[in-house]
Symmetry: C2
Subunit: 467 residues, 2 copies
Amino acid sequence: MARKNQMIALDVSPLANRKLGKYGLTRAQLNRLAPRVKRIVTRVERERGDGGHRYRELPHDRLMRQAVEEFAKALRPKTQNLVVLGIGGSALGATALHQALNHPQYNLLSRRKRGGPRLFVMDNVDPAHFAGMLDVIKDDLPGTLFNVVTKSGETTECLSQFLVVRNLLTRRLGREEAKRRIVVTTDSHSGTMRAIADREGFASLPVPDGVGGRFSVLSAVGLFPAAMCGIDIKAVLKGAAEMDDMVRSTSLQRNPAALFAAVNYLYYKKGLDLSVMMPYSNALSGLADWFRQLWAESLGKARNESGGKLISVGPTPIRALGTTDQHSQLQLYREGPNNKLITFLEVSRFDKDVPIPKAYKDQPALSYLGGTSMGKLLNTEKQATEQALLASSRPCMTIRFPSVSPHAVGQFIYMLEVATTIAAGLFGVNPYDQPGVELGKKITYHLLGREGYGNINALMHRERHQT
Amino acid sequence: MARKNQMIALDVSPLANRKLGKYGLTRAQLNRLAPRVKRIVTRVERERGDGGHRYRELPHDRLMRQAVEEFAKALRPKTQNLVVLGIGGSALGATALHQALNHPQYNLLSRRKRGGPRLFVMDNVDPAHFAGMLDVIKDDLPGTLFNVVTKSGETTECLSQFLVVRNLLTRRLGREEAKRRIVVTTDSHSGTMRAIADREGFASLPVPDGVGGRFSVLSAVGLFPAAMCGIDIKAVLKGAAEMDDMVRSTSLQRNPAALFAAVNYLYYKKGLDLSVMMPYSNALSGLADWFRQLWAESLGKARNESGGKLISVGPTPIRALGTTDQHSQLQLYREGPNNKLITFLEVSRFDKDVPIPKAYKDQPALSYLGGTSMGKLLNTEKQATEQALLASSRPCMTIRFPSVSPHAVGQFIYMLEVATTIAAGLFGVNPYDQPGVELGKKITYHLLGREGYGNINALMHRERHQT
């Protein structure tokens, strides 16, 4: 029982509120979907060791975790700056873990207070952004470690960053020392970055087979930067493993991943094709951003119908932040088109609350605030926003965190990964591919003169016949 | 002519691409809307000195600008940390200017390299977030200035932050010195914060009458923090004034604000109710976030139809980032439902480009990158993404910045503010109110026991009869 109390929980009860009218969700609607969900969960559990499902085993991979921990333990003392070179799934997980579990002003703290190196996640090839990072680390290159993260080993953005950094390190530190300042996280067997790492002797960490970029946060991709910055990755994985016990269940009542997927699917079918994730916690907003990729890239697909017809499916995930977006998006959410399902993330207990002192007894706009706290105000505003949304028939539900702990974050990540797999079953799409991004890559190669990409018309033509 | 070349420009030509099919926009469709746009622009220009339109005069308010500059000049030398206490329109403009025009790692630079104080924009009442800021400034309270920003003077989040900070300053520095560490930006005449500032003698800057929170970035609200951190606010305002010359035109061809509004409106009518703003520039992503509030809160409305019926209107603005979101959202944008109009922001010239060195001639995934630059790669990927979107009939257009300069940023801000006013005319809504957020505020007051808000049913009932 004690353990159960420490689990994050999905609360869908607001969806039964009678104010929602036709935008409510009845038990009967859920029950009608339950047999399909049951079949999907049964199939997914049967296949969990295979193909793209293999992210499911990461929480139980003790050897992987120990390798990451030992690596981090050895490198941490001499590292003042850790720069992650990666994009998409190679960056979002590390950023989300860091934002959730480290100090909000981590990079500004002294080394002693931080415990680990400063962290820079370079998830773009914007020259101003990249040069800005170089400005602050260039005077301590011997204390800077670059983590080159690319699952495929082929990602243009990451390889460009690598070329810049390798050149800089070699010029400034010499070839041998340069090598020691680079750690590669990539596929264990294949890809350009794997070949280079093996040939030149860069230290490297593997991305296990079958684990795609957006499902890789619980592998070395997300865990190595986290461990370097002092996050308890053992507790993160333990949380994920606890969630694994729950998401094996074929019952919608007991499986929060299945319930989250089912509710989202049913609302999409009702025409609410936007899925807003709105944490009332700055720490959790990186996780909402991570989820935005997971949901969009896994479910936004052209599905083959019988007769060769293609239809486009997939909810559009949106990241919001409470209370901040009450002053930016709430007007639209309440009075604009009723096309959004809102999932709040709520934190029951803040480790460090800020009391609001009493003052200005004569000012009605201030006096009622005295004696409460920021944490209480934040959660009260969440409750008020929920009631206001329900009053205008806008559906919403809540994922509740007991606190923002490594445990809870691990549970959350795993729950949403499995929810994505189950939702893909409902939407009838493959959650693990991304055929829609290939053409843009090929056109980039063509425009930059890469060999083999000279004939743009042939590339375009091939794509039309593939999809 | 030289000046014209330095203007940002809206390029809608991709919308005429034949690959778009029924998702294209014809000249005839625009021409049909042109007379309505002309009437709206004419009316708006006639009324520009009145009511909510008064933000239009900010670029020409030399006295306001000089007051802000003098204030900043006097306070800057002794200020090591500037903390903005504000939310929504009181925070987004300052953040956007800072992100666009200051160093990407500004707070990590030395004081000499920064030129101004470190900047912390506290746009929430998250206790962990707020305590995190206090951790890094608390050892230098005498060098810290708090800018309390609330147009109405009544905003719960801002007033709570103020209570915490005032108490801390008074305890640590004494009542008189505490006063000198607070600057209030609020309505010139009314509201709780105005009353307190006048009574207690806080320094203060006015928000001009008729300028609402989300249209206030070019007032002291956005300009004071900008000037404190070394941004050339005169150039920002000059850019806005130059744009004012263009957006007075009643011709869609000559008025980029009218064109942006018209295109967005026509696509909304076609059923594409999501408006994605996707800068290929990290610096510009804060402006996309600022636009997200402007567009959502101004246009997301319940509109009164004849017969007292209410209908919900308003596009949902979405912020994306290139190239980053090519690895997160592009799969959905290309293959998911065709419900998004995408506006790219493109930078023609980066002040500080990063060359990509040649290496690995034997590796086809790397060799073609050598000799190009990050800036060129970024813009090539933008072009490739555009072509890939068009190939799957997804409409997109581009706002092109000659460079990320104070001039261009001022132009952009003003163009989108005026576009919002014109779009509101097309959608038939008032861009300057936000009735949908009132109920949530009242429920918060009720839950926290504020006097006069005891009867929640009466509050709910009143709202139903007002909207």
